[in-house]
């Protein structure tokens, strides 16, 4: 927000009146928010608040019950899916039978690769130097998470949607995620992340957006989106 020029361009991600219901039971929303280049938004909320669901809706994997999503100012419809986002979900999206490097090479083929990065260097960037040739199945929970992060890092996209990127990571891994987010925002990208940990990305000043509209107009501590700007 401290860079007024950023607001001339359309926001990387914007939601207008966005809500999602399962079996007509509202999970979240209606929500209105925008995510501009250079921002990292941390979404916090109690267990079951709907964070994962929101990320999946934003990625175009679930159709919203109401409202619209805009990527770079263009509406995202189920039919025309976003070419411009990278998603990290609980499952990781890795093939356990392939090695870490083979997984990243495939991702590079599918999504393209960021200028100046290669599968090998992305793997080094997440601290898995010697593990390129090990099948992913043999990696520990945290090592798998790092490979999935390398995949996100490699994709040439501006918008990152990361669901609990810190879970299962040791302390150096947590710092690594913070470093990666910092750099991504600095290079003009944006990220929306969920986390329960106090250690999560903490540079900048927080801004909150309620996941559910608050009848009293006040903003509640729970069920909220906390936003940090660079």
């Amino acid at each position: 927000m401290n860079d007024p020029a950023a607001h001339d361009r359309p926001p990387l991600l914007a939601a207008r009146g966005l809500s999602f219901s399962r079996n007509e039971e509202p999970i979240f929303g209606p929500l209105d928010f925008a995510l501009h280049a250079g921002e990292v938004v941390l979404m916090e909320g109690d267990n079951g608040a709907g964070k994962t669901t929101l990320l999946r809706v934003l990625a175009g994997l679930l159709a919203p019950s109401q409202g619209e999503i805009f990527l770079n100012g263009e509406p995202l419809t189920l039919a025309r899916l976003s070419p411009q986002l990278a998603l990290l979900s609980h499952q990781g999206g890795l093939k356990h039978d392939l090695t870490a490097l083979e997984n990243l090479r495939f991702a590079a083929g599918l999504h393209g690769q960021r200028r100046g990065l290669s599968p090998v260097s992305a793997l080094a960037a997440v601290g898995l130097d010697g593990f390129g040739e090990a099948p992913v199945r043999q990696l520990s929970a945290g090592q798998k998470k790092r490979v999935a992060l390398a995949r996100v890092l490699l994709a040439p996209v501006g918008l990152w949607l990361l669901d609990e990127p810190y879970a299962n990571l040791d302390r150096s891994g947590i710092e690594l995620v913070n470093r990666l987010l910092e750099r991504h925002a600095h290079e003009g990208g944006a990220a929306l992340i969920t986390s329960h940990g106090a250690y999560a990305y903490t540079s900048g000043t927080p801004r909150r957006i309620a996941l559910r509209p608050d009848p009293a107009g006040a903003e509640s501590q729970d069920d909220s989106i906390v936003e940090h700007t660079r």
Binding site: R22, N23, E24, E25
Partner: protein, 250 residues
């Protein structure tokens, strides 16, 4: 908005549909029962014995209307499924899913009456002739649609997935209907024509047509009832359902 789309939207809204369906339903049921009773009386009592088949042929008055309904219900389901998928209208999702069990029941009755009839006519309960086989697989398709619908948690997603399957399965309809023309089979070909002279005596034709009418009305009545229940389940949290429950309570 022109009047047509206006009525379309009006009818398509669950509360309106619910109101109209509640009112129409009992009349439909009564009419279907009355017509069915007359038709059965005409078929089983008034119609003359067949000189070849004796009394066994009288099962035609159940078999043929049910067979038609099995096919009609599928077509009805497919049309609704198409609308549900393209325009995402909740009412059509519910209608499509409501017609599946009813259609399956008619198909099942067709199979049972057919094989009951087959024993005296062909000397066997079952043969692997094209119409019988394709009718059997029509039943399986119905089961598939119902099974898929039950297997998915989210009701609307389930309805859409099952609708999709119903559309894919439409290829089976012409196969069932035209199988008697395309392959020469044991099962007899068309005897009743909508256009042109039928190959059936008028004294047998009118009970048959009456039964057909009765089954159609019955079908609509039970689809309406199921769709109503389905809508209430879907919209359980909505205002109009809550109001309904209150009205019921008071």
């Amino acid at each position: 908005m022109n009047t047509l789309t206006y009525w379309f939207h009006k009818l398509g809204s669950p509360p309106t549909f619910h109101r109209i369906a509640t009112r129409v339903e009992p009349w439909c049921l009564a009419l279907a029962l009355a017509l069915g009773a007359i038709g059965l009386y005409g078929g089983f009592v008034l119609a003359p014995r067949d000189y070849q088949q004796g009394d066994a042929y009288r099962i035609i008055f159940v078999h043929v209307p049910c067979a038609w309904m099995g096919l009609f219900a599928y077509a009805f389901m497919a049309v609704n499924a198409f609308i549900a998928l393209v325009w995402r209208i909740k009412l059509n999702e519910v209608l499509a899913m409501a017609s599946a069990p009813v259609g399956a029941a008619f198909t099942f009755v067709t199979l049972v009456t057919g094989s009951l009839w087959g024993k005296p006519m062909w000397g066997t309960w079952w043969t692997w002739d094209a119409r019988l086989t394709s009718e059997l697989f029509l039943l399986f398709l119905y089961f598939g649609v119902i099974g898929l619908h039950n297997a998915i948690e989210d009701r609307r997603q389930a309805a859409r997935a099952a609708s999709f399957l119903a559309l894919v399965g439409v290829v089976n309809l012409p196969i069932v209907h035209f199988s008697v023309n395309w392959w020469n089979t044991l099962h007899q070909g068309s005897t009743v024509r909508l256009f042109g002279p039928s190959k059936i005596d008028a004294s047998m034709l009118w009970p048959l047509l009456l039964m057909a009418l009765a089954t159609h009305i019955w079908f609509f009545a039970s689809v309406l009832a199921r769709a109503r229940a389905g809508l209430i389940e879907l919209d359980a949290g909505k205002d109009w359902v809550r109001k309904l429950a209150q009205d019921d309570a008071s």
